[in-house]
Symmetry: C2
Subunit: 405 residues, 2 copies
């Protein structure tokens, strides 16, 4: 039977997630974990969801909630999202909105649409691990996008892609409070990405999963909004905006969206029809119910809570990290990115950190398409309450002191 062999061929580049293994550590009560990039369940709008499912399953709407749905998604939710995108500077209507089962599914479909084996995807070093996993199934080559500090020339990207027998099909990036670095691109860098994409005649995939979670500073327009300004309207854009309710309302419902030009939405609808028919009707209706009543309130609540945790983590790092260790200062999102001195292997350190310091984090190597970045680590602060920061960071600092000293 050839199953094992065959799948090995198709996905030999799909590496098992280190995060998955790390999350298992959370079951050990004395481990302080900065590993899991997940929202704090204590902050979910529990009561709002309880009421929403009750309303959605009332006689007037229960048939629709439990029945098949069109592949593009529940129309009133798409209308609500089109209005939200309008507030971000993206004038559009519901025909530009496509509902996905979390923004992760959007990345999978975009990989399927764009990538033939050997094609090139431009990503930052490091980038979101889940994006690499989604794209890997379609066997691309990766090249390095450096939106700050200057990209390679378009000709060089093009030539390198051709050597590999394919073309540059898209550039993927997380412009706001990136996973894993926490960094945000300014407007000039975003325009630079659009310039590059125009030169390469490729798409831009804008992963906006964390966008609403800004704790300081001014919003930067989405790349899609800048593209609309330049191009004269969404139907002339090359940017594909991937949004998510997972970080604001709840990930367990698996509801995200894509906002893009209509011809792309139509192709996504065909892909979804062939893959899972549609995202669950009932969850789309419940998300809309909660969003209409309390999206903005919920965003403010999360900003207050996560903003305070970010502040506490940054202060503790300042107090306890030894010389030679540096870290990002994110204006929002969920992550602080720590860089250790050259030569320190964060993956090896993790094993010692868990056994000696009882502190978990994600080693940064996994986020690099080329396997570099072994001296980096990601700390998530969304689950890091006062006790975790007070107990964990000094222990991590002491371990690093022993390791580096």
């Amino acid at each position: 039977m050839d199953m094992t062999e065959l799948f090995a061929t198709r996905s030999s580049r799909m590496r098992a997630s280190e995060i998955r293994e790390l999350l298992k550590l959370l079951d050990q009560p004395d481990i302080v974990s900065f590993a899991g990039g997940i929202p704090d369940p204590a902050l979910f709008p529990h009561e709002a969801f309880r009421e929403a499912y009750g309303r959605v399953l009332s006689p007037g709407t229960s048939n629709q909630a439990l029945q098949y749905q069109v592949s593009e998604g529940y129309r009133p939710l798409r209308q609500w999202l089109a209005a939200e995108m309008g507030k971000l500077g993206v004038a559009c209507d519901e025909s530009n909105i496509f509902i996905t089962s979390g923004s992760q599914q959007g990345l999978d479909y975009l990989g399927k649409l764009f990538l033939s084996p050997g094609d090139t995807a431009l990503v930052t070093w490091p980038t979101y691990l889940g994006a690499l996993q989604a794209f890997n199934a379609y066997e691309p080559r990766y090249d390095r996008l450096t939106p700050v500090g200057g990209n390679t020339t378009p000709d060089a990207y093009r030539a390198a892609a051709a050597v590999n027998g394919g073309r540059v099909k898209f550039t993927y990036l997380v412009p706001d409070f990136a996973n894993p670095t926490g960094k945000t691109l300014d407007e000039a860098a975003r325009l630079g990405v659009l310039d590059l994409a125009r030169d390469l005649d490729c798409a831009v995939i804008e992963d906006a999963a964390y966008r609403a979670l800004r704790y300081e500073g001014r919003d930067v327009p989405p790349i899609l909004a800048l593209d609309c300004q330049r191009s004269g309207g969404i139907e002339a854009t090359r940017t594909i905006y991937c949004g998510s309710f997972s970080k604001i309302l709840a990930p367990g419902l698996r509801v995200g969206w894509i906002c893009a030009a209509k011809p792309l939405v139509e192709k996504l609808v065909l892909a979804k029809q062939a893959s899972d028919l549609h995202s669950p009707s009932i969850n789309q209706m419940a998300i809309l119910d909660v969003a209409e009543r309390s999206y903005d309130t919920q965003v403010e609540r999360l900003k207050t809570a996560y903003g305070a945790r970010r502040d506490a983590l940054l202060a503790a790092l300042e107090a306890h990290m030894p010389a030679g260790v540096t870290w990002s200062r994110p204006e929002g999102g969920m992550f602080v990115w720590v860089t250790l001195p050259d030569g320190v292997d964060a993956a090896a350190l993790l094993a010692r950190s868990v056994s000696e310091a009882r502190v978990a984090f994600v080693p940064g190597g996994a986020f690099h398409a080329d396997g570099s970045g072994t001296n980096t680590m990601r700390l998530s602060f969304t689950l890091a309450d006062e006790r975790a920061v007070r107990d964990g960071i000094p222990r991590l600092g002491a371990l690093l002191e022993r390791t580096l000293g």
Copy 2:
């Protein structure tokens, strides 16, 4: 910008669903539709779902319902399904169960795992349209499986696959009350499929979406159960059983499952992690709540209601179809398959049927991988209440009389 062109290359064989267009007709109130292969929403266990979501969102479980979940699915649901599979003759545990977003998603993942462009999939002529759509994305060649009446020899299948530059990777079939034909394979035919798959060293994908809906006759063991008997246990099987809650409880939650040997489940977990992380936590918990309390009751309720509709439809066909028209007599499921005389084009007939007789059905050509079967049509009886059958079938019969006469 190359989006349109690129996607055309990747999915030129992905045809837009005719069903989709047909479903739009349901909005016209005077149309009697036998087209949509969907369950009757009046028979959904509304109250059970209302109570289930209330319980799942109560303080003890709400965190888990709204949070991320492991990719293989909610463990208690997998345990319940393993016990159900045991009742069907498949001894297994939860490590053999993988939760999908409807059984459609299972087909997509299996296509992704098994098929490289040019590989061969064996399917019946006709077969489930959604399976062809799922597999088409991976650019296979199709060859014809004829489980009743004799397949081609394994050597002939192998040689034809090799000419196309690939191998036979799996055979896909709906052994119980098939979509679209309503037909059921007996045990001998199922064993024949296993023989063929062993000779070809390929997998068997058993789509069991309708299995629980039997209105007469005796259950035939699932192919997976026969495979377990022959092979000595599930870990030695080559059969992949795809189940669904959509036809019994509700499709709007998008919960299905795969039951197979552990190494395959492990590969599916990786595929799911890269594609949508996991199926919605809350829906898996709600489905389990409803299934534990009322799965068997709900099956009995549907058998009574749908069984009566099948009887009424068969009686009306007997009374009103002109000579030269034949149809299947399904022992269960949702569909009756009608064969018109050679040369009658059911797709052309549909246009006249809608305008002249105000009756809709699905022309059978779409279900044939090779475009044959143009003189066939699928009638679904799940939404066909007494009035629909009483009004619609005589009008369809009269139209056919005029067409054939």
